[in-house]
């Protein structure tokens, strides 16, 4: 099922009682392709959960429309939209067993949609099998681990075969190891069912790893939509560049003069097609190449060998943060006791942004 968000806007009344409003989601336009897995990504309070609530119908948009396929569902109540929602804390009914929890949505059906008891049980079993919890059907939620509860919540959302599956921060209540495992699981379940799935997360790694497309949001405004790798390699603005990637991108106060990029006093790169101006320069950690005569001179603070890669921590007067973190392949040897380290930069790992608007400035590496 294709989901279309057409100029979706949601304003909440402000708490200061002056009739002001807070815009949680602003002019959100997006066509979610059928059967894809979408990650809505952004920091806390960026409006991603509100966007999800608009799609499932728990909130009504202030303006704009929502379509599931060709159906306009903007004014439909949640129960008529055919959505499944998995809550951040699962919201499993604690007094019901796993089976009763999964059966619950089916038992709500009335009239011609109502299934016989045997059919309901069969469907519940199928859903349980899909998320691999068949052996836990008679347990209560409190007798299960977080990961298992998560699966039950997904099974409950899937049992009535929703047109769209929505997950609100599905992994944030799980420990690190379970998180890795569960995100693979979500990907697998989504592939197996082919249900269009939208999930919300503040963890960029989570979104990057399993999404077909990611939507980066900030303060209610969509910053960029694209395939994870595309967004990573081609960020639209400084916010997106900073938000994606671990370790994060290193940002320098730089300036462009005469087709050359200066970071502090160091002339590091020739950039064609950019007017002379002060800029923010972002360099991905993997964009540094240690070189004897490299143009960027940093004071070395530490070297962490991590087997496959080496992480070099250094500092530079023009850098926004105290330390610059760069990842270099193990074949480059760094003298741990040296005072300084010099780098050349990979042009495709360097991004320039306007100082004022923080928009991306395209350039041609020469």
């Amino acid at each position: 099922m294709k989901v279309v968000l057409d100029h979706l806007t949601k304003k909440f009344p402000s708490r200061n009682k002056k009739g002001d409003t807070v815009t949680a989601v602003s002019d959100f336009c997006f066509e979610v392709p059928d059967g894809s897995l979408i990650g809505l990504l952004g920091p806390s309070g960026c409006g991603k959960s509100t966007a999800l609530n608009l799609i499932c119908g728990l909130e009504k948009p202030t303006s704009g429309r929502i379509f599931f396929g060709d159906d306009d569902v903007t004014n439909l109540p949640p129960e008529n939209r055919g959505v499944g929602l998995v809550f951040q804390n699962y919201a499993l009914y604690p007094h019901l067993t796993v089976r009763q929890n999964i059966l619950f949505p089916l038992q709500n059906l009335k009239g011609k949609d109502r299934l016989s008891k045997a059919e309901m049980l069969k469907k519940a079993d199928e859903a349980a099998k899909l998320v691999q919890i068949e052996q836990l059907m008679d347990r209560k939620p409190s007798e299960m681990s977080g990961g298992q509860q998560q699966r039950v919540a997904i099974a409950r959302a899937l049992v009535k075969l929703p047109r769209v599956l929505l997950l609100d921060e599905p992994l944030s209540n799980l420990d690190a190891r379970l998180r890795l495992q569960t995100r693979e699981e979500i990907r697998r379940i989504q592939r197996d069912t082919g249900i269009t799935t939208i999930f919300v997360t503040h963890d960029q790694e989570e979104a990057m790893s399993i999404s077909d497309l990611i939507v980066v949001m900030k303060a209610g405004v969509v910053q960029q939509i694209g395939r994870p790798q595309e967004v990573y390699d081609d960020p639209a603005n400084l916010f997106v560049a900073k938000f994606l990637g671990t370790p994060p991108i290193n940002v320098f106060e730089g300036r462009v003069a005469g087709g050359k990029l200066f970071l502090g006093e160091d002339e590091v790169l020739r950039v064609a097609g950019v007017d002379d101006q002060p800029v923010w320069a972002g360099v991905r950690p993997e964009g540094f190449i240690p070189q004897e005569a490299g143009p960027l001179c940093c004071s070395l603070a530490g070297v962490e060998v991590m087997g496959r890669d080496t992480s070099v921590v250094s500092s530079h007067p023009a850098a926004e943060n105290v330390s610059i973190r760069s990842i270099i392949t193990a074949e480059h040897r760094i003298d741990k006791d040296a005072e300084t380290v010099r780098f050349a930069l990979k042009p495709n790992k360097v991004f320039l942004f306007r100082r004022d608007s923080e928009e991306r400035i395209p350039f041609e590496a020469v």
């Binding site: 949640p78 008529n80 499944g84 929602l85 809550f87 009914y93 619950f104 949505p105």
Partner: protein, 296 residues
């Protein structure tokens, strides 16, 4: 282990001593009195032991009347007050505006003196040579006959008694249930909403089970409280409850000790123990029922 335990006992000593002197000893004494025939508290003498006190109490028409009154009171007021309190709490929980005002209004009876409330009820219900009372005024308005609620027929007196009890015990129940309802996470309701659950089903399958421990608590304490009813009846019908035919078990115990016909601690003890047995049985039955229906 043994060495460390004496310290624990030492710390518990004040509480144990206090409870021992003021609770355990009197309770044990009551048990002893109830088997001592013809015990006289002035001379500390009795002339035999046995079950005579129980037999006397159980054959005393005043006691049987008190048991009947108490049971009617319990059976009517506990479900009615809990049910109405639940309805009011649901209402309070679903409004936003003026909610605090209503909460305060509903809580007022809790902090009002029983006797003062009794006086107000007198004005509402009592028939005097000068006026028939507010309620009768209303009844007359609708073309009915005046009823003497305080000195009149049994059912009228029982109605006032139940009405009064429900009114007095309700605020606490509303307080407990409103906070219980507020503590049910909104997520459960959102989940139910997305699954298209009907309002009634949300109430019976989600809300009720979620607040069932609190409802159960209110029912148990409600039963115990209603079985111990006494002061409310005094406030309404005066101290001679036997004459009014509105005595309760606790009232009977009191009368046997201090009333005009009093001075019989043995009968009082036997009646108190019978009350204890009744309350104990009911509570056990409650616990057994709750095991199936209460979800912690």
């Amino acid at each position: 282990m043994e060495n460390k335990n004496w310290k624990a006992w030492l710390y518990l000593l004040p509480a144990i001593a206090f409870l021992g002197v003021f609770m355990v000893y009197p309770l044990a004494d009551v048990l002893v009195y109830s088997f001592e025939e013809g015990y006289n508290s002035a001379s500390q003498t009795f002339f035999g032991t046995g079950l005579y006190n129980y037999s006397y109490v159980l054959h005393d028409p005043y006691f049987l009347q008190a048991v009947k009154n108490t049971f009617i009171l319990v059976i009517i007021t506990v479900p009615v007050s809990t049910g109405i309190a639940l309805l009011i709490s649901l209402g309070l929980n679903s409004i936003r505006r003026l909610r605090e005002l209503y909460q305060t209004v509903f809580f007022l009876p809790y902090v009002t003196n029983t006797l003062a409330v009794g006086l107000v009820f007198m004005i509402l219900f009592k028939k005097t040579p000068y006026s028939d009372g507010m309620v009768n005024l209303l009844i007359n308005w609708f073309g009915g006959e005046s009823v003497d609620f305080i000195d009149g027929p049994y059912w009228a007196k029982m109605f006032v008694m139940c009405f009064y009890t429900v009114w007095v015990v309700m605020p606490f129940k509303i307080l407990i249930l409103t906070s219980a309802l507020a503590s049910v996470r909104q997520d459960y309701y959102n989940a139910a909403k997305i699954d298209g659950t009907s309002k009634w089903r949300i109430f019976t399958r989600i809300t009720l089970p979620m607040i069932s421990p609190m409802i159960f608590y209110l029912i148990i304490t409600g039963f115990i409280g209603a079985f111990k009813a006494y002061s409310d009846e005094v406030a309404l019908f005066g101290t001679d409850l036997n004459a009014a035919g509105m005595n309760t078990i606790v009232g009977y115990v009191y009368d046997m000790l201090y009333g005009d016909s009093g001075g019989y601690p043995s009968y009082a003890s036997a009646a108190a123990l019978i009350l204890f047995a009744i309350v104990f049985t009911i509570t056990v039955i409650n616990l057994l029922i709750s095991r199936k229906n209460v979800h912690y």
